[in-house]
Amino acid sequence: MARWGMVIDLDRCNGCGGCMAACHKENNLAAVGADETVGMDRAFHWLKILPEVSGSGAEAEVRHVPHMCVQCDNPPCIRVCPVHATYLGEEGIVGQVYSRCIGCRYCMAACPYNAKVFNWYEPEWPGDLKKAANPDVSLRPKGVVEKCTFCHHRVVRAREEARAAGRPIADGEVTTACAETCPTKAITFGDLDDPDSRVRRLSRSSRAFRPHADLGTEPKVFYLAKKE
């Protein structure tokens, strides 16, 4: 059984935002509009790009950190969910079952990565935008929490194709929308348990670190960055 993970090379990321747009499109993220985004700090993204600045003045160095749910192996969010709407899947993806979620937002409070977002209002799909929705991913109702799923539907689809062809899933066959779009190939997705996978090799690089590894959450998103 696979254990899905991701490696993001911060030295390759140039902050173009392609991953963010791909994620929105792939996962049917609704636009929440100006009032909420601007007035209430409720920007609605599964994947954000956080600027990280070191130094100042002419010496300032800006680094862009693509940031999403890190799919903890020991996720704090699932412990606080009173209705088991969020859970750790058998392949290591932290799932969010919208039909179970009661919108208490405990998981959002528990998440040290600030990775979850909440549908405060019924998502709007003006004009023909609903027709452009990805049929593999549901349109969420109001009152539920949502977050990055590591493009779980793509994993399922790849497994389906592999099964139809009677072979195992090859390394690199499943990839997330963000990784697929990235023009600098900064994002790598794959099976951390596959001894030959690229993602496993990169995750063991000397440049690799995990966000807030000290919390004991065991994230499966690794970052690569040059050593200071």
Binding site: M20, A21, S56, G57, A58, V62, L129
Partner: protein, 419 residues
């Protein structure tokens, strides 16, 4: 403001030149067709053009979107979006070999009642008859594309990119060693190209060095030949002296030697204000579809997790000097106008400059974008780059004035105002 009195420039800003020609009567137009662009919104000379449109009897806008230019046009002929039309692209800048992409419409027929601008123009030519009809005999845009590709098909050069890499590779080897000139049937070539979407020729054909090396020395010259020739012509001659005369008449600040190389030409902007304005176009605001979609509006300013509004990037030093903080709402004012923006302090930005993103501030309802944010091009002063003639978007002086502190309303504190 008409730019007729502005300093002479080597080239002309196309939008400004068109508008000025119409306004001063030197280039009266009977009809203007605007195809797939929105100059009223995207050009700093948009204001001039808006005036000029009133003096053109027939203005037709062919666009998929209800944009500002369409709103000012007499007729709007809705055109399909890129997924609904044939399209061809040639070698992009920076690719060292020839490529050609041909895209079939994937949504056919188009979702709405639209027509490709080329089809409209071809039909107009047919109705005009005479020379126009003879010059444009094609039935439709795809027939025209096919005609343009005929030479490529017959030349036998390059290869249509095939799904199997080997095929291209073999062809590549053929190109290097053995030469087979494969004359291809145009219809077959076109069909194959439409299917595989691209053609490439990894090897530049030899034998036309005369065309490639039209330099005075007949060798590689690492400066712009075009600029040099134009400057000489301006100096009324064909020697180095004419070149210097030409360069001097434009008032170039750069030494003559550098004029035809990429160089920094300091802005000659005047006017009040202690900051320079810099207008940039974020990646989210490029292309015609982008800013119409609510999704893109939401990530317009994604590095700050804040879409839907115009922000003003300033350096921490500048912010400190002006007593501004992240998220404060300010007014940016130039001689030409004023816009509202939100302060975003960006370490690494040069002090003394305000960076404003272009792309918002549509006066018309373009998708979801109508009335959101501000168009910083409204601020840009009429200062032309001496060589390109473009309205220099970085030669405007502006002032920042605090309107509202972040999070709480009320009047700005006494020390907050500046300029």
């Amino acid at each position: 403001m008409t730019g007729a009195a502005a300093a002479p420039t080597l080239e002309e800003d196309p939008v400004a030149a068109l508008a000025e020609g119409v306004l001063d009567g030197s280039r009266p137009l009977e009809a203007l067709f605007v195809v797939d662009c929105d100059p009223l919104h995207t050009s700093p000379a948009g204001g001039l053009l808006r005036e000029a449109l009133d003096r053109i009897p027939l203005v037709v806008s062919m666009t998929p979107f209800r944009d500002e230019t369409a709103a000012a046009a007499g007729f709007v002929l809705p055109s399909p979006v890129f997924l609904e039309a044939w399209q061809a692209t040639t070698t992009p800048a920076g690719v060292p070999f020839s490529v050609l992409g041909l895209g079939e419409p994937v949504v056919d027929p188009p979702l709405f009642d639209t027509r490709h601008p080329a089809d409209v123009l071809l039909e107009l030519a047919r109705h005009l008859g005479g020379n126009s009809a003879a010059a444009l005999p094609w039935e439709g845009y795809d027939a025209y594309l096919k005609h343009r590709l005929e030479g490529l098909a017959v030349s036998g050069q390059g290869a249509v990119i095939s799904s199997s890499f080997e095929e291209s590779w073999v062809h590549y080897m053929e190109e290097r060693g053995w030469r087979f000139s494969k004359r291809r049937d145009t219809d077959d070539f076109y069909r194959e190209l439409a299917e595989q979407a691209a053609w490439w020729n990894p090897v530049r054909g030899t034998g036309n060095w005369e065309r490639l090396f039209r330099t005075p020395s007949g060798r590689f010259e690492f400066y712009s030949q075009n600029l040099a020739r134009r400057l000489q012509r301006l100096g009324a001659g064909s020697d180095a002296e004419a070149f210097s005369r030409g360069a001097a008449s434009l008032g170039l600040a750069a030494p003559v030697d550098e004029a035809c190389l990429p160089h920094f030409e300091p802005p000659s902007g005047e006017g009040e204000g202690d900051l320079w304005l810099s207008v940039f176009r974020p990646i989210t605001a490029r292309g015609r579809l982008g800013i119409a979609s609510p999704m893109v509006l939401e990530m317009f300013g994604y590095p700050f997790l804040d879409g839907w509004r115009t922000w003003a990037e300033i350096a921490p030093e500048t912010a400190h000097e002006l007593h501004l903080e992240d998220g404060d709402e300010v007014q940016v004012r130039s001689e030409r106008g004023e816009v509202e923006a939100v302060v975003m302090i960006r370490p690494g930005t040069s002090p003394g400059i305000v960076h404003l993103p272009a792309g918002l501030g549509h006066r018309e309802h373009v998708g979801a974008a109508g009335g959101i944010g501000a168009n910083p091009l409204d601020l840009v002063a009429d200062v032309r780059d001496p060589l390109s003639g473009a309205w220099s978007p970085n030669a405007t002086r502006v002032t920042l004035r605090l309107l509202r502190r972040r999070d709480h309303g009320g009047p700005p504190p006494a020390h907050g105002g500046h300029g």
